[in-house]
């Protein structure tokens, strides 16, 4: 499972439409299948570990620990595939994936796009800014359009909490929540868990601190659910305006004092601070915020042990994380990006794997 990533950046060219765009390689057959670890699995029934019972992935509340583990395991194998120079895999040839990003997010969108294309699916990007969406079309009508196009899987990011669930209710196709309002960002949490598992080995007895704008963070909500399910201890830290009392409803410890939370922490996750929070009066200044909550090398030393640093990106260097820490050896930030593709490949494959393709983990590379 432990993977070495020589170059944390996704392989050059992947996701680049000239190389992997629709059409050009669409009819590429399994190339004999050099280095490919995907194969047909025959006769797998309902009880197969590869059988995925969920139509959608909307949040992590509904997943069992075993299901989360299945995703992480599958992602491990996908990562192997990912770091080898391969042609497009034929696993999902003939399947279509639509990306609907109502909020700007180059990172998450391209991560999903790469994941789907590597698996051989046809990807349609709904350029929301230019589409009917901005002409006032309701999400319901958009869902009906997608339904009519016989899309197999939709990835949606939307500013409204519950938008993914809304879409899922009205679509026969599967829906992956790529982030909905302040509610959930399940694939981010899964990639964070995957990254942590690679470096910590497991979650039992591990302490994870999440620091920053907890109130507005779907990343924090989903991570709390995933990490606690997997057995980690989670602590939330941030200023009272961004960590109001009702956040205790998430069922984990909260504190305003980051430094008191750090001792014993195996990993610390800094959340991105939306700079407009200052204008809304939630923060007096970025200066005071960074003085109290920015992750620095000195501050991290308070854990008293080797501690990894995560961040969902994009970074505000010098606000929530010090630049030199972000670029240091204990930073897993670039690895998170690579793992994001692997985790999304795993999910898409599990969700669309009904065609009979699944990972054959016994297979050795050619």
């Amino acid at each position: 499972m432990k993977a070495v990533v020589p170059d944390a950046q996704p392989r050059k060219g992947r996701g680049d439409n000239e190389v992997f765009g629709e059409g050009e390689n669409r009819d590429l057959l399994p190339p004999g299948v050099k280095g490919c670890r995907l194969s047909m699995i025959e006769g797998k029934g309902e009880d197969s570990p590869m059988h995925w019972r969920h139509k959608d992935l909307l949040d992590l509340d509904t997943l069992t620990v075993a299901e989360i583990e299945t995703i992480l395991q599958t992602a491990g194998a996908m990562k192997e595939v990912l770091i080898r120079p391969l042609e497009k895999l034929p696993a999902l040839r003939g399947k279509s994936v639509a990306l609907m990003f109502y909020e700007n997010s180059t990172r998450t969108r391209s991560s999903f796009e790469n994941a789907a294309k590597i698996l051989g699916a046809q990807v349609t990007n709904f350029a929301v800014a230019q589409s009917s969406v901005n002409k006032g079309e309701s999400l319901l009508d958009t869902a009906r359009t997608l339904q009519a196009m016989k899309i197999d899987l939709v990835v949606i990011r939307h500013a409204a909490s519950g938008a993914a669930e809304f879409l899922a209710k009205h679509l026969e196709a599967g829906v992956i929540n790529g982030g909905d309002g302040q509610h959930a960002h399940p694939t981010q949490a899964l990639l964070d868990c995957f990254t942590l598992k690679e470096h910590l080995g497991g979650f039992r007895g591990k302490k994870i601190v999440i620091v920053g704008d907890i109130l507005h963070s779907r990343v924090a909500r989903s991570n709390v659910i995933a990490l606690t399910k997997l057995g980690a201890e989670v602590m939330l830290a941030g200023p009272p305006t961004l960590l109001p009392a009702e956040m205790k409803a998430l069922g984990v410890q909260t504190t305003y004092d980051l430094e008191s939370a750090l001792p014993g922490a195996d990993a610390v996750m800094a959340l991105r601070l939306q700079l407009e929070r200052q204008r809304s009066g939630l923060l007096p200044s970025l200066r005071e915020y960074s003085r109290l909550y920015m992750l620095t090398t000195e501050r991290l030393a308070r854990t008293g042990k080797k501690t990894f640093v995560l961040h969902p990106g994009p970074l505000n260097r010098g606000v929530e994380i010090a630049s030199e820490l972000a670029d240091s050896a204990c930073s897993l930030i670039e690895e998170q990006v690579t793992n994001g593709v692997a985790v999304r490949m795993a999910l898409i494959n599990l969700m669309l794997g009904g065609a009979g393709y699944a990972l054959d983990q016994e297979c050795t590379p050619a």
Binding site: S138, L139, L140, H158, A159, A160, S161, G162, A163, E165, F166, K169, D180, G181, Q182, H183, A184, R218, R221, P244, E246, M247, K248, A249, L250
Partner: protein, 443 residues
Amino acid sequence: MLWIKNVHLLDPTQGISGSGSLLVKDGRIAKLVKPGEELRTEEALAVFGAKAEEMIQQVDGGGNYLFPGLIDVHVHLREPGQEAKEEINSGSRAAVRGGFTSILAMANTRPVIDHRALVEYVRLQGERAGKARIYPVAAVTKGLEGRELTEMVELKAAGAVAFSDDGRAIQSAELFRLALEYAKLTGCPVISHCEDESLAGQGVMRKGPTSARLGLRGIPASAESVMVARDVLLAGETGGKLHIAHVSTKESVAIIRAAKAAGVDLSAEVNPHHLLFSDEDVRLTETIYKVNPPLPSKADQEALLAGLLDGTIDMLATDHAPHTWDEKARPFDEAPFGINALETALAAVWQELVIKRKVKPEKVIELWAVNPARRFGLAGGTLKEGAPADLVLFDPEWRERITPDTLESKTQNTPFLGKELQGFPVMVWVGGKLVVNRRKVQD
């Protein structure tokens, strides 16, 4: 000439609860035969000035309740301007089917009811519909903009019975103070929708554990309560006549209780949905529960019920807020606030509060007929002889599933859709005219 026999009379204004009968002549209650009294046919003929029994229409009430038609002081009829949601005609029909013989129509239509012609339009449309009595509420400020007062004296002359910017709260304390002062010229109450917009922000449900879990933006309870405190202080200082709409927090109840004890000219309403649903019922995609003020905590519900029972809260009101299916079929953030309630509110209160012995039947009539009539100076709300014959024959055993095809309202945004409720009006009269018979609105 109508004689409604074999009924259980309920009239808190006369302390009546028991079997009797009631005679209607010329649209008014001609004679009330109280429990223990008898009325011979010859005597009834004398009341009517009739020669033969055949001239009198007799109705056997089957032992069901007969009480004064309910008066709902908080209804959105959407006309003019948003007729896809509701019209005065459809809302008027929905009202009587739900047991309401008089309703107050809020002013937040398009255009806003802030001119004499518009007040008269609403009143006349109500008369044309010919079902429930429609009393216009006129705006406090022109265009609901919270800047300049409306011509309240003229609006009252046109038929307005109260003033409200409901749907929005007047954010300027000074302007609201002036409204309370100026409305004294009319004697009408100013109805306040209490919401501090800076606290409510972009919230969509009550701030608390559920909003934290769902990641829905929260509206703190204080968004209402600080405004209630402001408004009762201003009412006390000015001596103005204030009515607080849709009270939903325990802090508001406490403030109102204290202000009443201090002698402020104050009344308040609570909406059934705030008693029957809490923030814990909210689900991420069930916009049917998106309402303003948002569904409260369980602790608030207890305080609201206690306030109703001890007289702190004077009345029930539906805040009937119809919206189309398309408008509600959106993500929670984007769907409009509001619950369609006229045809389900009484049954829901009956099923959840009366049958469960939390509220007595007489109390429901006091809260939904007697007190609204008194506070807003309306006819009705009593079975006293000479009062208009606005009557409801109510079958406490009647069970009915709420379905789109049975609803008279143009829209169906009710959390009871598809569910069964118990306790419905089976016959309703307005001014002696039968408007509902066996649950069907009469054309």
